[in-house]
């Protein structure tokens, strides 16, 4: 969930009133936002770098607000204020208009070289805009938030904004060999080739995260104006020449990317949010983009879409009884201008270009419910009559774990993921023999595989509890995972039961006794006859020679019990003898 950090006083000025922290928190909650933290720059720096560094930092109160991940229109002060003001019916949602320029329209020509690396581009112009320091900062911050969220760290879309008065169109979006691209990048004093820049930015904490997107490609994307001035090398850096400042009056915005839909959404969000500072409020000057196939598109789209939803459907889904007129009013408060039409039960909803998240009728129904107030909805119980059933495997597990505890063993809850070493090397096995599922991208060596046995988890639990009085008697009933090509995903779980006894003596008889008790509970009689269980001398690398037996029940091998090999005990950093049993309980279902 993205967090937007706003200056409180600026926010209240824009909202036209002040709130106490509690009142504002309540307003956010109602609207689906969360006032996450009240802080200041000074506080943040002092928390992260200590009091000394915070000296002189601003102590202007900041509200950190969590915004739902699909509401790109609320990612800056302007958008958030607009949303809240419309919600509280203090203003009407503005109508955004695309206008043609008086003079020649700005053109962006895409060449076919871009196809392999970053094929899409869209553009627009904000004409006669008036920035202040705060507005300018918010404009930069919104681009950053969009980059981090919908743009997927610039992989899908990258935004470039330029002072149009320093450039001369038409513009060309092309892709070139890195060695052939040379320009003065933003905030640098001299020109570099693209190759040099990639090296320089490797140590740049901000930009190094975006290099991988184009790094090993033969051609890099680049945008030129008609004089060969570089506007930007997306998605890494803009040119210094067209840098925007607080005094910039005309802004050329280009968004390039690999996802056409998202590029259009990002452009719409930027221009709708900041067109309120243009001389002709809420108007955006069109730009033309020529695609390699010669097709001409005009942007921004600023499309208003109409949806129809029946009022009784909204009432039925939410569980309320509102008139169609009231529902239309509720939706209008969510920036979805609505009116009742037709037979008086149809609501026509206009989806503005700011609400790209509305893709389905149920999104509209949700907004009606939010405007109605979730906490005003009458809670009722569904009449759905059903008979409950337990999942048989879990029912058996529940029964067994209570009896294991009654038999004096303590239940452990251990991780299902572990290191390769835990299930293989430490137990004297080769990893290929375990048929374990392997994880491709673990952050730590603790989670390389899914466990194939419960034993390592219990032994690690004992190791972490060595200070406890002896004997330690632990058990766990949980799932292990084994590769199985007959399953759709190529692997399956097995429900295992494992118990260990750790003391000055190995206590094989105690573990054996526990097995006998288990079989008694499962109604499996001792003996070789059909339906009975026996244990037969066996061996295994984890066990002390001559102290291992295989368990057969109902005609199949279900596991092993025995005294652990001293090497295993040592590898788990234990010092006492230890015996254990591990069985698959699924045959007893």
């Amino acid at each position: 969930m993205p967090t937007v950090s706003l200056k409180r006083d600026l926010l209240f000025r824009a909202l036209g009133r002040t709130y106490t922290d509690e009142e504002f928190d309540e307003l956010c909650f109602e609207f689906g936002l969360e006032l996450d933290e009240i802080t200041s720059e000074k506080e943040i720096i002092s928390k992260e770098q200590g009091n000394e560094k915070a000296q002189g930092a601003s102590d202007v109160v900041l509200y950190k607000i969590d915004v739902p991940a699909n509401r790109y229109d609320l990612l800056c002060l302007e958008g958030l204020v607009r949303g809240l003001q419309v919600f509280k019916e203090r203003i009407k949602a503005p109508m955004y208009k695309r206008v043609m320029p008086n003079g020649e329209i700005q053109k962006l020509i895409i060449t076919e070289e871009t196809a392999k690396i970053r094929p899409y581009a869209v553009a627009a112009v904000l004409r006669n805009i008036k920035f202040t320091k705060d507005r300018y900062e918010s404009f930069i911050e919104l681009q950053e938030k969009l980059h981090q969220n919908i743009c997927r760290k610039r992989a899908l879309v990258a935004i470039g904004t330029h002072d149009l008065d320093t450039l001369s169109g038409p513009f060309t979006y092309t892709a070139k060999k890195p060695s052939d691209i040379k320009f003065k990048p933003l905030n640098k004093t001299k020109e570099y080739t693209a190759c040099e820049l990639m090296n320089i930015y490797k140590t740049d904490n901000h930009l190094k995260h975006y290099l991988h997107i184009i790094e090993n490609k033969p051609l890099y994307p680049v945008i030129y104006d008609s004089n060969g001035v570089v506007l930007s090398m997306p998605p890494v850096i803009n040119g210094h020449h067209s840098k925007i400042t607080v005094n910039t009056r005309n802004i050329f915005i280009e968004c390039t990317g690999t996802d056409f839909t998202k590029a259009k959404i990002v452009l719409d969000i930027i221009v709708t949010t900041f067109s309120e500072y243009c001389e002709n409020q809420f108007t955006v000057e069109a730009a033309e983009v020529v695609f390699p196939n010669g097709k001409l598109h005009t942007f921004p789209e600023l499309a208003y879409r109409k949806e129809m939803v029946r009022a009784d459907l909204i009432n039925k889904k939410v569980g309320i009884r509102e008139t169609p007129e009231n529902l239309a009013k509720l939706l209008t408060r969510m920036c979805l201008k609505s009116e009742v039409i037709g037979d008086g039960n149809q609501i026509e909803i206009e989806i503005p270009p700011t609400r790209a998240d509305i893709i389905h009728a149920c999104d509209i129904i949700e907004d009606a419910a939010i405007a109605y107030g979730y906490n005003n909805i009458q809670m009722t119980l569904p009449k759905t009559y059903t008979i409950a059933n337990q999942f048989p495997l879990n029912k058996l597990t529940e029964l067994l774990r209570h009896d294991m505890a009654a038999a004096g063993f303590t239940e452990a809850l251990t991780f299902a993921l572990c290191s390769q070493e835990d299930i293989a090397d430490k137990l004297g096995l080769d990893i290929s023999a375990t048929k374990a599922v392997l994880i491709s991208n673990p952050k730590t060596a603790e989670f390389q595989v899914a466990r194939t046995t419960l034993l390592p988890g219990l032994l690690k639990t004992i190791a972490a509890n060595r200070k406890m009085p002896l004997p330690l008697k632990l058990f766990e009933i949980s799932d292990i995972v084994i590769k199985d090509s007959s399953r759709d995903v190529g692997a399956r779980n097995y429900r295992h039961l494992c118990a260990v006894y750790y003391n000055k003596n190995p206590g094989f008889e105690i573990i054996h006794g526990l097995l006998d008790r288990l079989m008694q509970l499962l109604d499996v009689p001792p003996g070789e006859k059909k339906g009975g269980y026996v244990i037969k001398a066996s061996e295994g690398p984890a066990f002390f020679p001559g102290r291992c037996a295989e368990i057969f029940a109902r005609g199949q091998s279900i596991g092993k019990l025995g005294v652990l090999h001293p090497d295993v005990i040592t590898k788990f950093e234990l010092t006492m003898p230890c015996s254990c049993v591990e069985i698959n309980i699924e045959p007893f279902l």
């Binding site: 899908l156 809850l413 509890n465 995972v481 995903v489």
Partner: protein, 505 residues
């Protein structure tokens, strides 16, 4: 033993004594350790009103081991002085004496000796005075003789700084006759025995009283894990509410069931390597329900079932990628798909509680595995109000009655809400907030459910609860209930750990 020889002597002396006697004095007279007398006093006290004992504490000065040595053999400086003959001694030789180092500097500062550095065979030490008065030894002897009060405060503190004297606190008892004083005490029985019962001898024997303020012996038993006890409780609540348990015994899931079938677009951040454990082996799911796959593909890339879709190029390879499920909602998706195959449609209530996995680095507040609780209701005519009603019942069974619902966003549920519950923990002054989170009404949007082959307009009610990852304070790979345990059990944490292996509460 209460009737040990010391106790007997104590009683006899007490009978003869006028008023009472001091335990330390008695110990000195009898020539036994003071602790032995204290033991006798305590055991006599335990018998009732035989004696009365008043605890007194007195301060006393005692010599340290070094102090005793000096009292016996003289101070280091005096010993140094005495070892220097009139014709002098090489300094190197003097330093080898036991008192050499300490005694030399002290004797120098007392101006008892001098060093001649110009001597032929290295520096040589000579006497300066003919005889010395060993003041330190005299003072220590005074203390030894019990006359410490004859020394001034300054003198005592100087000796203490030299670690020759220490001040000890001596706890003694002033013992006097009790209301039931007697010199003859019969031996008390500790416990009732089978022989006493059969012979009836218990009738004539006195029994030692029990100390009821002592702790009992904890029963020798096994224990269930606290978090799994909570699981049992939640399971019970769902069963009481008529919910059927879904199978969730498949930790490995395909991206298709974990994400795509839940209308989570393929570029969603949750599908990043940073957040999800993907598999190297088996890397891909081999079997997917292809007709359903095509419907899901169409809905993502072009829309359908009334949706605009996400309008991107949906890739089958991405959907085949295997992973460790990031939520149990994947199991719910499978359950709803199975339900949709059943004709005619029958209403259903489902729940599950099981493990889910996230690619996290372990720390005090993050685990790579945690448990998720999930519930789904599928029926005709369900409303958001129904979902909230079901949640209210669920929470009230946990003893939580104050709920607030906050709008939120989930790719696979619409409408979505977060539940904030406030539980006034017994004995706690504040409120505890437990975010359980993320239920939905039209479970898994319309795209998913009708796409699954079910009839249009059969919304499923969903509850998905993901408790905050529990805190794990021990180094053990044991995750316990943390915040959730306490809230859910509706009972303050037990003052001592109910299970010795899991001290976390």
């Amino acid at each position: 033993m209460a009737d040990g020889p010391v106790a007997e002597v104590l009683l006899q002396r007490l009978e003869a004594a006028d008023g009472g006697l001091d335990s330390a004095e008695l110990a000195a007279e009898l020539g036994v350790e003071h602790q032995t007398v204290v033991g006798a006093v305590k055991s006599l006290q335990a018998l009732g009103e035989i004696i009365e004992a008043e605890l007194r504490s007195t301060k006393r000065w005692e010599l340290t081991a070094e102090g005793e040595e000096i009292a016996r053999e003289g101070s280091h400086e005096a010993r140094v002085f005495r070892s220097v003959p009139p014709e002098g001694l090489p300094q190197s030789e003097l330093m080898r004496l036991p008192s050499g180092k300490v005694g030399f500097s002290k004797a120098m500062s007392n101006k008892w000796i001098r060093v001649d550095k110009s001597a032929a065979d290295g520096p040589r030490v000579f006497r300066v005075v003919d005889s010395v008065e060993d003041e330190v030894q005299r003072r220590l002897q005074l203390v030894q003789g019990g006359q410490a009060e004859k020394l001034g405060e300054k003198e005592r503190s100087e000796l203490r700084k030299r670690k020759l004297l220490t001040e000890v606190n001596l706890k003694t008892y002033w013992v006097s006759k009790g209301s039931a004083f007697s010199t003859s005490i019969s031996k008390q029985e500790t416990e009732l025995s089978p022989e006493m019962i059969s012979s009836g001898s218990w009738r004539d024997r006195p029994f030692k009283p029990y100390n009821f303020s002592a702790h009992g012996v904890l029963p020798d038993s096994g224990h269930l894990h606290p978090l799994l006890k909570v699981r049992t409780q939640f399971r019970q609540i769902f069963l009481e509410m008529g919910f059927t348990e879904m199978p969730t015994d498949n930790y490995i899931e395909s991206s298709f069931w974990n994400f795509d079938a839940l209308f989570q677009p393929q570029q969603h951040p949750a599908r990043d390597q940073h957040d999800t454990f993907f598999l190297r082996d088996p890397a891909q799911a081999q079997q997917l329900p292809m007709d359903y796959v095509h419907r899901v593909k169409r809905t993502h890339s072009q829309g359908g079932y009334g949706s605009q879709g996400y309008k991107y190029n949906w890739k089958l390879d991405e959907a085949r990628k295997n992973l460790l499920r990031t939520h149990t909602t994947s199991a719910s998706a499978r359950a709803l798909y199975r339900l949709a195959q059943k004709k005619p449609f029958t209403a259903a209530k489902y729940f599950s509680i099981d493990r889910v996995f996230r690619n996290e680095t372990l720390d005090a507040t993050h685990l790579a595995e945690f448990h998720q609780i999930e519930g789904v209701v599928a029926d005709h005519g369900l409303t958001l109000g129904h979902l909230m009603g079901v949640l209210r019942e669920f929470f009230s069974k946990l003893g939580i009655t104050q709920l607030r619902f906050k709008p939120t966003y989930n790719p696979y549920t619409e409408p979505s809400m977060e539940v904030f519950s406030y539980h006034q923990a017994r004995g706690a002054s504040g409120t505890q907030r437990m975010i359980i989170s993320e239920p939905d009404n039209d479970q898994i949007r319309h795209q998913q459910y009708p796409g699954a082959g079910g009839p249009q307009g059969e919304p499923a009610d969903g509850v998905r609860q993901s408790p905050v990852p529990p805190r794990c304070r021990t180094g053990a790979p044991v995750d316990t209930g943390g915040r959730m345990t306490r809230t859910a059990l509706d009972r303050p944490p037990s003052p001592r750990p109910c299970c010795p292996l899991h001290p976390c509460q």
